[in-house]
Subunit: 131 residues, 2 copies
């Protein structure tokens, strides 16, 4: 399998695959005689893992840690849990803020529809910290 096939299988841009290699999250692959990269099924799975983690908002450093953990099945998984918990906390923080922004925006839209002069409180809504 060469890079184009891997790209199609994993749904990841070719340039991104080469970037992941440079970034050290994908192993340096073997080459064909003509210099082209050769990949296998393991690379498709690893790339899927990386994309999934990235989609969940983990940065590449966290991905490296998670991948390293995956390769030590006997190690404790407290590290993995801690990384995931930190990510969850961050997502929940953003959810709370977005919910208050949604309330403010929909209030504005509703007031405009009624023809009432909307007193815009977007700044206040965003300045009212949820902490």
């Amino acid at each position: 399998m060469q890079i184009g096939d891997l790209s199609r299988h994993a749904g990841v841009n070719i340039e991104t695959i080469r970037y992941y290699e440079r970034a050290g999250v994908l192993p340096v692959p073997a080459r064909q005689g003509n210099g082209r990269r050769i990949y296998g099924e393991a690379d498709v799975r690893r790339l899927g893992f990386i994309r999934h983690a990235r989609d969940l908002g983990f940065d590449l450093q966290s991905v490296r840690t998670l991948l390293a953990l995956q390769e030590q099945p006997e190690a404790s998984c407290t590290d993995a849990s801690r990384i995931a918990q930190a990510q969850l906390d961050e997502v929940e923080r953003r959810l709370a803020q977005l919910q208050s922004l949604r309330a403010e925006l929909s209030r504005m839209v509703a007031e405009c529809r009624k023809g009432v002069v909307a007193e815009c409180r977007v700044i206040e809504a965003l300045n009212t910290s949820p902490f």
Copy 2:
């Protein structure tokens, strides 16, 4: 108030403040005789707004739009409503996305028995395609 005070009041890096000026989300401030930037209370509020919007994941272009919305004269209510509605749609989209992230992350964390990596649900979840 000069840039260092604004930085402390708003909790935003000095370099970032100058960057926001270049990016056109903070107005070009007046200068003292010695060339130093002068800010007022309005800048503190505006900066707070920008930071919160950025924390919610809006890019600087959206921030510009939100700021423009905030500064809409009361006359152009239909216009303001249209902009607010567009931002509201975007917020709803982000909310839905974050909610599914939270669901997956919290399931991962909840099912992690803090044992060994071999049985770790966090790692396993990442290996399982979300589709």
